[in-house]
């Protein structure tokens, strides 16, 4: 069974229960007690110690926009969009392709999993992730990210974050079902006049779709997500072609440079002031 997350930002209340449940279940270490000043977001992004991350996007209506009533009801001039981010578990996963130890594998549930007993901390997955998810933990040396609660799924349980979510903003289920559910939800939202609601699943890109689907309002960039993510393996062909051409040039150039060697040998010997032994 291929499983997935559907994270619906329009239902999220920003309670961070997912962050806490994830940390508790997976024994993820503290990420410090730093206050960022960015709304109520004090974790700032996904990382080796943050596998679920609730984003707080603050939105203002433009100047001169109408305000509902005059009793101080300001809900229409300010809006808060919360969205719980997580590893996308890409169909074509850059980290998995890049991993030189085979530590990163695809599980039977379709998730992307870093085997902690194999990872040697080379750091290549960190730069191979188009979503900036994977991170190396300095005090440990290995790379970490969401495991999709592989252990819980093995035992037939839902991932910790989806279990803890009080509003069903995070839904866990079969990928196919969730795609249908997402489409139905978008229709409902649009019918209610929320026309800027979109599904984010990178299906139209070289990533080939993700196993973590998101519904949110506005542009992906508002949520620190790439508008057009690319799996880095798309660059392999250009890179290796260039390397091959370069190698050919290096060999041919050197051969050409040494072409007159026999004639020049004597000159070279005397110029260096050395005798061949």
């Amino acid at each position: 069974m291929i499983t997935a997350f559907l994270t619906d930002s329009t239902l999220c209340i920003g309670c961070k229960a997912c962050e806490v449940a994830c940390k508790e279940w997976n024994g993820v270490p503290s990420d410090g007690f730093r206050l960022t000043g960015f709304s109520y977001d004090n974790t700032a992004g996904l990382g080796h110690a943050t596998w679920r991350h609730v984003k707080f996007v603050e939105r203002h209506a433009p100047d001169g926009a109408p305000v509902d009533g005059d009793a101080g009801y300001r809900s229409n001039v300010f809006r808060w969009d919360f969205s719980s981010d997580v590893c996308k578990h890409c169909e074509n996963a850059g980290c998995l392709e890049a991993c030189p130890t085979g530590s990163i594998v695809r599980t039977e549930f379709g998730g992307v999993f870093i085997q902690p007993d194999v990872c040697n901390g080379c750091g290549y997955c960190v730069v191979a992730c188009p979503f900036g998810v994977v991170d190396r933990r300095p005090e440990d040396g290995r790379a970490f990210k969401c495991t999709f609660c592989y252990d819980r799924q093995k035992a037939g349980l839902k991932p910790a974050c989806a279990t803890a979510c009080p509003t069903e903003s995070i839904v866990f289920g079969e990928l196919r079902d969730l795609r249908e559910r997402a489409a139905a939800r978008l229709e409902t939202l649009r019918a209610r006049g929320i026309e800027d609601a979109t599904l984010y699943d990178a299906a139209e890109t070289s990533v080939g779709g993700t196993h973590a689907l998101f519904i949110f309002r506005g542009d992906p960039e508002d949520y620190n997500l790439p508008g057009a993510p690319e799996v880095p393996t798309v660059h392999l062909r250009a890179g290796w072609t260039s390397a091959l051409v370069t190698a050919g040039l290096m060999l041919a150039g050197t051969a050409l440079a040494f072409a007159n060697t026999t004639r020049e040998r004597a000159a070279s010997r005397s110029a260096a002031g050395r005798q061949e032994t």
Binding site: T36, F38, S39, A44, E58, R59, H60, A61, P62, P66, R79, G94, A98, C99, P100, T101, G102, C119, N120, G121, C122, G123, V127, P130, F131, G132, V134, D135, R137, G141, E221, D222, N224, P226, G227, E230, P232, T233, H235, G239, W240, S242, V245, T246, A247, L249, M250, L251, G253, A255, F258, A259, N260, T261, T262, E264, R265, A267, R269, R274
Partner: protein, 299 residues
């Protein structure tokens, strides 16, 4: 009632100006390896070609020794950069053709075997007054080290290019040319500084400097502000490119008879080659720090 809400962060800043990507975690050992491995690989190429062309044995031997020494110095650099150095052998439990790092590791393994065999064969050949089997083994190892050396000095460009870091992937075609040319330029320069005056080394170095000059110019055009400039990494890239390209090119062409000019050119090439690799890592760090809005804008 409908009107467009604007995110507080709805500017080129993306989400509070926070980086979308994770910056490379690599430290100085990685660019140092790019340099050492590149020079070693290119030196093996020079050694094999010089041998085939019948150049003097001293040049062949030194080229083989540079290759072997570089091959010996590379693994410690790579291993010390790992988060878990004691697990370095895990690199050899799989071969993944779609992972440039996996390809690179296996290439390095093959190269070190071949390069050290070629260098060792030279020593044995000297002791045994050049018996034929030793020569044959040495030359075969030399050819193998040249073949793997070509990959070793160019794949690092693919390694950087096939990532999500915008400034690297944008230049995926350029980086292998850049690293390959500066590797062979540096290898020829190192041999010159060791006292070899074979004119072919000068020609190799001129060719490499020419390619480096063209690559530098192409980069300058592509990476117009603000993608690389005026940040510090851009200045580093520029200094490295100048040292490996126009500076030695001018010195070698304008003062072809001056030994000093040639030595200065050789030193500049070596410095530029090392420098530009450090600079490219820094440029990658800077590029990965760009907020969401900037990353998509740049492409």
């Amino acid at each position: 009632m409908k009107y467009a809400y604007r995110a507080v962060t709805d500017t080129p800043q993306g989400y509070y100006g926070l980086p979308l990507l994770k910056a490379p975690v690599w430290t100085w050992e990685v660019p140092a390896y790019f340099f050492v491995g590149g020079v070693a690989g290119a030196s093996a190429v020079i050694g094999a070609v010089a041998r085939a062309a019948g150049a003097d044995r001293r040049l062949v031997r030194d080229a083989r020794w540079i290759a072997a020494a570089g091959a010996a110095a590379s693994p410690p650099l790579l291993i010390s950069d790992l988060g878990r150095p004691e697990r370095f052998l895990n690199m050899l439990r799989v071969f993944k053709v779609r992972s440039p790092m996996s390809v690179g590791v296996w290439t390095l393994v093959a190269f070190s075997q071949a390069a050290s065999a070629a260098a060792f064969a030279d020593v044995v050949a000297q002791r045994t007054r050049g018996r034929l089997p030793v020569r044959v083994v040495g030359d075969a190892a030399g050819v193998l080290s040249a073949a793997t050396g070509l990959v070793l000095s160019t794949y690092t460009g693919v390694l950087l290019g096939a990532t999500a870091v915008p400034v690297w992937s944008r230049n995926v075609r350029l980086l292998p040319v850049h690293f390959g040319a500066s590797s062979i330029g540096a290898a020829a320069s190192l041999l010159e500084l060791l006292g070899h005056r074979h004119p072919a080394l000068n020609r190799v170095a001129i060719g490499a400097a020419l390619v480096e000059t063209v690559v530098g110019a192409a980069l300058d055009r592509r990476e117009a502000p603000p993608s690389l400039r005026p940040a510090t990494a851009a200045q580093l890239v520029r200094v490295g490119a100048a040292l490996a390209g126009p500076v030695p090119l001018a010195l070698r062409l304008l003062a072809p008879r001056s030994r000093t000019a040639r030595n200065v050119a050789a030193a500049a090439t070596l410095a530029g080659s090392l420098f530009s690799r450090v600079a490219w890592l820094e440029a990658g760090r800077e590029s990965a720090r760009a907020p969401a809005g900037r990353v998509s804008e740049a492409d």
